[in-house]
């Protein structure tokens, strides 16, 4: 008997570890219910969900990057005081004095950028898969909120180094808030804690960045995953959506003779559905056939997580996070560039009234995304059969990417047009 098994076999061990040895599928299912962390996962998912082309594992990637941000962020908090007198110097000493300080800061910065990318890509993938459709509409809405919180986390973190990059990006960002009708100026004052970016702003952004927003994100992610888990066996295959009358969330689906999904009736005991698993003796497996999450999905998630970690740790080794001169309220750098995920907004702000570019457009994007599953009446899931939705979404996506590229790489002093090789591109 191995040492671990002997520990588990003591009275104390048995009181801590309730997970059975995973010999049969039934043990594996029971293992999900007995473990706090594992019960994020459903017992079974549809076979197609474990493939790379289904999700590209972008949701897992987002979560892994968030965990990387939590760990690296907590380390950085030990060496950082959020006040204008200390902040910049603390970042400098993190980079020079603190063990692995520069590296951890790099990992934190690149994880943040990659998380914005991963969350956005995850959303696009879910859109093209039609996975926001009934009964998952509200989980899509939570996903939109998660995108907003991710951007807010990035933006509040942007101020903390208290360099020129930070100071002026936040001056512009908070000035945008002032254009919101009626409450705008109050909101701006509340964010700034004073008439302009200063010590109160730094402290407020710090509290938002390390406490309020991460808690909000964890809360939303919990609900997001829980709903994903509850809906995990619902078909989103090529055919019309199965209406809520036919499908009850939580009841697994199996393919019938002609391939249509049917609900398997029956009481669930520890998530195990009585009867033979559908994967049993059929030769042709359908996309909707259930497969056990342990080990099929878990091993893929583990590999995806390791791959993402590998990439971010490697980028952290290769590229240093930028730090400009200390914040100087009497001099705006020229050009002053917003962080890349706001470069499209900055480009719009150069052309339209701030009420339009800074308030109405972003507001319409967020509300439009949230309303999408309720406006889209097309019952099809597959993007091939959703011409209007596919084309509209793609046009907006491409437009946004083009605006981002222009703002990031094609704008120079006084926001004039330059070419990317003229060395004016924004800093990450």
């Amino acid at each position: 008997m191995k040492v671990a098994d002997r520990v588990k076999d003591t009275t104390i061990g048995r009181s801590i570890f309730r997970i059975p040895d995973r010999v049969t599928d039934r043990d594996r299912a029971a293992g999900h219910w007995a473990s706090f962390l594992m019960h994020i996962y459903p017992v079974k998912v549809r076979r197609i969900e474990i493939t790379f082309k289904y999700s590209a594992f972008l949701g897992v990637a987002s979560l892994v990057l968030f965990i990387s941000l939590l760990v690296s962020g907590i380390y950085l908090m030990f060496f950082y005081v959020p006040s204008p007198a200390n902040a910049y110097g603390d970042i400098q000493s993190i980079q020079t004095d603190v063990a692995f300080g520069q590296y951890i800061r790099n990992v934190h910065r690149w994880s943040a950028h990659l998380m914005v990318l991963a969350v956005a890509a995850h959303m696009a993938r879910v859109f093209y898969r039609g996975a926001y459709k009934s009964p998952k509409e509200f989980n899509w809405v939570i996903g939109v909120l998660l995108l907003v919180v991710t951007l807010l986390l990035s933006f509040t973190g942007y101020l903390l180094p208290w360099d020129q990059l930070a100071f002026w990006a936040v001056t512009v960002g908070t000035s945008m808030a002032a254009y919101v009708p009626i409450i705008g100026e109050e909101v701006q004052l509340l964010l700034l804690g004073g008439p302009s970016v200063g010590s109160a702003t730094l402290l407020r952004f710090y509290v938002l960045h390390v406490a309020v927003l991460p808690l909000a994100l964890v809360g939303l992610v919990t609900i997001h995953l829980w709903r994903w888990r509850k809906d995990s066996m619902l078909s989103t295959g090529g055919g019309p959506a199965t209406g809520p009358a036919k499908v009850q969330p939580g009841l697994p689906l199996q393919a019938s003779e002609n391939g249509d999904p049917v609900v398997v009736e029956g009481r669930r005991v520890l998530g195990v559905v009585p009867g033979k698993p559908a994967t049993g003796d059929r030769k042709e497996l359908s996309n909707d056939d259930p497969v056990m999450v342990w080990p099929h999905l878990l091993v893929r998630h583990a590999v995806a997580a390791l791959a993402v970690l590998f990439v971010v740790l490697l980028i952290g080794l290769t590229f240093d996070a930028p730090l400009r001169e200390i914040a100087n309220p009497t001099s705006t750098p020229n050009p002053e560039k917003a962080p890349w995920y706001f470069a499209a907004l900055q480009e719009l702000l150069a052309h339209f009234h701030p009420l339009v570019a800074g308030v109405l457009v972003p507001g319409a994007i967020v509300l439009g995304l949230m309303a999408l599953p309720y406006m889209d009446r097309n019952p099809m899931f597959d993007a091939r059969f959703r011409r209007v939705a596919r084309i509209t979404f793609t046009i907006f996506l491409v437009l946004w990417i083009v605006l981002t590229l222009i703002g990031f790489a094609f704008r120079g002093p006084s926001w004039s047009w330059v070419w990317p090789w003229e060395e004016w591109h924004g800093e990450l």
């Binding site: 512009v172 509340l190 804690g193 001099s331 009234h353 701030p354 002093p413 006084s414």
Partner: protein, 168 residues
């Protein structure tokens, strides 16, 4: 259910109303506690070292303590706030073009701070100035909103190339 308000329905409604009130009170209190208490200006009055005669009529003088520029328009000394009326960036003066050029979103203003081009909703704001003991004093406690776009009282076209390049 009867349509009269029985004890259960009354209590159920009471709980909900109470929760609503509590949430509203909490929200208002948080808002009120986090609202900054603002004093007047960052430094009410800033005394400069310039007399009315030494302020140029063809260039600007930066007064960092007041976050403002001094210049002369029609023989009168004016103080122009450095803060862009668009989104709050500090606007530098471009010597070669003789205009203000905002680095953030490319708003341009003439020497009088009047809007020339770009997304700013109005011209640069001004501070009132006074002559105290022979020198110019800028009162930063109050700003006078800049003129609406289209105003051009000095008729000074760009003197030369813009600092941000001419392909804007």
């Amino acid at each position: 259910m009867s349509d009269t308000l029985d004890r259960r329905a009354f209590l159920a409604k009471g709980w909900k109303a109470g929760l609503g009130l509590l949430a509203a009170a909490g929200l208002w209190t948080s808002w009120d506690l986090l609202r900054p208490r603002l004093g007047a200006g960052f430094a009410a009055k800033v005394k400069t070292t310039y007399t009315a005669e030494t302020v140029p009529a063809d260039a600007v003088l930066e007064i960092p303590a007041a976050r403002a520029y001094l210049t002369k328009i029609d023989g009168e000394v004016v103080a122009i706030s450095e803060k862009c009326t668009h989104l709050g960036c500090r606007i530098p003066f471009c010597d070669s073009s003789g205009q203000f050029e905002c680095p953030c979103h490319g708003s341009f203003f003439n020497r009088a701070g009047e809007h020339v081009t770009g997304p700013a909703p109005r011209g640069m704001d001004r501070f009132t100035v006074g002559i105290v003991d022979g020198v110019v004093e800028i009162d930063t406690s109050e700003t006078v909103n800049g003129a609406p776009p289209g105003t051009d009282t000095i008729d000074e076209p760009p003197l030369g190339p813009r600092c941000g390049g001419d392909h804007a």
